[in-house]
């Protein structure tokens, strides 16, 4: 499947040509446990490491097919799927880090992933560092002989900073430290970090991969060898996804390539519209020449995604909130990547309890709006934003 077109992999990747009952779609296997013919077959399963199901927490047919499809889309050998994006990153870090180990983050990585390290991995003796996003010198300075992993998101949320994947991988290889990219916003359609030599790719599959705002899922993709202990630990920690949900994820992936083309188109069109709008002070979108990451984004990515962040000109937080509240098609809500466009003001949605000083430190001005473009008609979205800005 590797040399097949992106949309062919979306539809057929990872799936068997012949399925039970000759059905065209995979059946939903709800069974929590799997039976054995007789005692001898259990012994054969154990002694010969036979590939079959045993108990739902260790694997399920719906999980396997989705994992193969996700791996195919990301050009990985294997993918391990979890019940949410956070379950995936926690599963990976718990498998890879031990007391005394250190991890270095770029500071625009998803805040809950850093929070997990600072608050919880710290209790188990893992030391976390964070450095300014894209500052490779600072990242290198933070590396020592206990460092086990370098982590970055690309593009980041909500600033959409893209990092140079070649440089990131080179730094890891030079110091023999593994690298992890959160590619949730990019998706495999726009960038395949494994092709650059990154060790692990992390997705919140709740977003573009599921694509319909109706399921939670996460995954880690990489080589079979590196993921063997991750898979094993998932079977112990138990953050597996349900067969019903996994079927919906597989179904969502069938239109993945098609949806991403439209997300990219809508993102670019809205970013250009907003940049030209007199009531907009600034737009963050890697597909715009004005974005600091534009050059590296063009080099690394096939498209720039559906997320667009912008600042309303001469607006305080209330005037900014009024713009959000006036949107008619875009619904107010966290998350992104579904067919429905969502809109939110980071100050209120994610940083409401932070001090103004902290917000400034995180680069979250009061007049910032994050628009997660869906796949609606482009002109309808432009008209919606246009009337929302027309105070």
């Amino acid at each position: 499947m590797k040399d097949r077109g992106e949309s062919t992999v979306s539809v057929h990747g990872g799936e068997s040509r012949s399925k039970p009952s000759d059905a065209i779609t995979d059946s939903i296997v709800c069974s929590s446990t799997f039976t054995f013919e007789d005692s001898a077959s259990i012994i054969r399963f154990i002694e010969e490491n036979e590939q079959r199901e045993e108990y739902g927490r260790y694997g399920n047919p719906n999980e396997k097919v989705v994992e193969r499809k996700l791996a195919a889309l990301d050009h990985g050998e294997d993918s391990v799927v979890y019940s949410s994006g956070m379950a995936a990153i926690v599963g990976l870090l718990m498998a890879k880090l031990s007391a005394g180990d250190e991890i270095v983050f770029f500071d625009q990585c998803y805040h809950r992933s850093r929070e997990f390290c600072y608050k919880h991995l710290a209790r188990f003796g893992v030391v976390t560092h964070q450095v300014a996003t894209g500052d490779f010198a600072a990242m290198e300075a933070a590396i020592n002989d206990r460092t086990k992993m370098l982590v970055s998101e690309s593009p980041t949320n909500p600033h959409l900073t893209c990092i140079d994947l070649e440089q990131f991988v080179a730094l890891g290889k030079e110091h023999e430290v593994e690298t992890l990219i959160d590619a949730t916003l990019a998706t495999p359609f726009n960038v395949k970090p494994l092709d650059y030599g990154v060790d692990y790719v992390w997705h919140s599959a709740t977003k573009y991969l599921g694509g319909h705002n109706d399921l939670l899922a996460g995954c880690i993709t990489g080589s079979q060898e590196k993921l063997a202990d991750v898979r094993n630990l998932r079977g112990i920690m138990g953050g597996v996804n349900s067969p019903h949900n996994l079927y919906l994820l597989q179904r969502g992936l069938k239109t993945f390539a098609l949806r991403m083309q439209r997300h990219n188109e809508n993102g670019q069109a809205l970013a250009e519209f907003l940049e030209a709008h007199p009531r907009v002070e600034k737009v963050y979108y890697p597909g715009l020449e004005s974005h600091p990451s534009h050059a590296i984004a063009k080099q690394n990515m096939q498209g720039f995604g559906g997320l667009v962040t912008f600042l309303v000109a001469d607006a305080d937080w209330k005037q900014t909130a009024a713009v959000v509240d006036r949107a008619k098609i875009a619904r107010i809500g966290p998350s992104l990547g579904g067919v429905e466009t969502l809109i939110e003001q980071p100050l209120i949605m994610s940083y409401y309890n932070q001090t103004p000083e902290n917000r400034e430190k995180f680069g979250i001005p009061d007049n910032m709006i994050r628009l997660a473009c869906g796949i609606e008609n482009t002109q309808d979205l432009i008209e919606d934003l246009s009337q929302a800005l027309d105070l």
């Binding site: 097949r4 077109g5 992106e6 949309s7 062919t8 979306s10 539809v11 057929h12 040509r17 065209i24 779609t25 319909h212 705002n213 109706d214 179904r251 069938k254 239109t255 390539a257 098609l258 949806r259 439209r262 008619k328 098609i329 619904r331 809500g333 579904g338 067919v339 429905e340 969502l342 869906g374 796949i375 609606e376 008609n377 002109q379 309808d380 979205l381 008209e383 919606d384 009337q387």
Partner: protein, 385 residues
């Protein structure tokens, strides 16, 4: 912006999908309930019993009505249940005129089931608009046709046929399964009832059987609703959810499938082992001009062609493809291929097959979402040189 002002693709996502007022959920919940608590004895709430109405089914009905430009729609457990409901508007002694190029299941319904209720049926050549007047009987009540015919992909002159049929007081029903509301909205041409096997493009993922009727007149909607409620072939809440989910990408899928189908049909037309290709987007198609007038945004994802080979050779070709699934049905993300003579139209008798131009070498394909280049490579290998 009201839903009336939104464009098709936006309505497919937002109409019938208002966030849940109780929880704010952006995806309306699946209401599995079979019954609903009422405000008091003899007082009825919006929903009472799920056969009569269910919130999840109502939501997808609202979406379909909006996309077809109807005043309302009804969702059924299959396309045949929808067609059957439409025929139950008639009574013993009535007569139906139907196009020659119709789905085998509709053919069977008209000839075996309706006939048993003493409803008479005549198949007519809809290429000839005079055929309606010629075959009209005093008891003719309905004209039934397909927006894009099956399997020869004929495009009847829908506005003209509808006008003639209305002059004679007939109800006009159009099976819009192949064209989908993305490409054609028959109600805009004056048609009374639009029928869908929603199993196909509307659902789009080969995983929910469903049917729909959409109408322009509230009076007709009321009559059809009465029949549906009385006979009970309603769509389940889970399938209503899957159908609604599928419809959100309908516009993207059908436009992409149309683009790919045009490329494939051009490839097939130049292939030495192909006798002819029937695709409304090709200039060689007899109805190409009409297709350009009546369809917008593409010519659909269905292609029919005749392989240079006999019955057995044709069987070999359809089995030799790797990406196409050998199966009936159509309209899904996966490409499918079949031989009408032995599969979709096997329920026609041999004489009727011949009359409808369904030769042994005919192959019908439903183009999915795979990359056009991959599908062309696959067909090229299967056809051989």
């Amino acid at each position: 912006m009201t839903s009336r002002q939104m464009k098709f693709r936006t309505r497919a996502i937002h109409v019938g999908n208002a966030p849940d007022p109780q929880t704010g959920a952006v995806i309306p919940p699946i209401h599995a309930a079979t019954t609903f608590i009422q405000p008091g004895a003899g007082e009825w709430g919006t929903f009472d019993y799920s056969r009569s109405g269910n919130p999840t089914r109502s939501a997808v009905q609202e979406t379909i009505a909006s996309l077809e430009g109807g005043c309302g729609s009804l969702a059924f457990s299959s396309g045949m249940a929808a067609t059957h409901c439409a025929t139950m508007l008639l009574e013993s002694g009535d007569h139906i005129l139907a196009g020659m190029d119709i789905y085998g299941g509709s053919y069977r319904l008209f000839h075996k089931i309706c006939a048993a209720s003493k409803i008479d049926i005549s198949l007519v050549d809809l290429n000839d608009t005079d055929s309606i007047s010629r075959n009209l009987k005093p008891n003719t009540k309905m004209l039934w046709l397909e927006g894009i015919g099956n399997p020869r992909l004929t495009i009847p002159d829908l506005p003209a046929l509808t006008q003639i049929a209305h002059q004679h007081g007939l109800l006009v029903g159009v099976d819009n399964t192949f064209a989908t509301p993305v490409l054609m909205r028959p109600l805009e041409h004056g048609v009374d009832i639009v029928m869908h096997s929603a199993t196909k493009y509307l659902g789009g993922h080969s995983d929910c059987l469903s049917g729909a009727l959409a109408v322009r007149s509230p009076e007709l909607l009321e009559r059809l609703y009465y029949i549906q409620n009385a006979t009970g072939a309603v769509l389940s809440p889970f399938d209503s959810f899957l159908l609604a989910r599928g419809i959100k990408t309908l516009d993207l899928r059908v436009r992409e499938q149309s683009r790919t189908a045009l490329k494939i049909s051009q490839f097939l037309e130049s292939h030495p082992r192909v006798n002819f290709v029937l695709y409304p987007g090709l200039e060689s198609h007899p109805d190409h001009q009409r297709a350009k007038q009546l369809l917008s945004g593409g010519f659909g994802g269905m292609i029919t062609f005749e392989a240079a080979g006999d019955f057995e050779e044709t069987k070999r070709i359809v089995k030799a493809t790797k990406l196409f699934g050998l199966a009936v049905s159509l309209g899904a993300v996966e490409s499918l291929i079949e031989q009408p003579a032995s599969m979709s139209h096997a329920s026609y008798d041999a004489a009727a097959r011949k009359e409808a131009g369904i030769t042994d070498g005919l192959i019908r394909m439903s183009v999915g979402l795979e990359a056009a280049e991959d599908l062309i490579d696959d067909l090229d290998t299967a056809l051989g040189r």
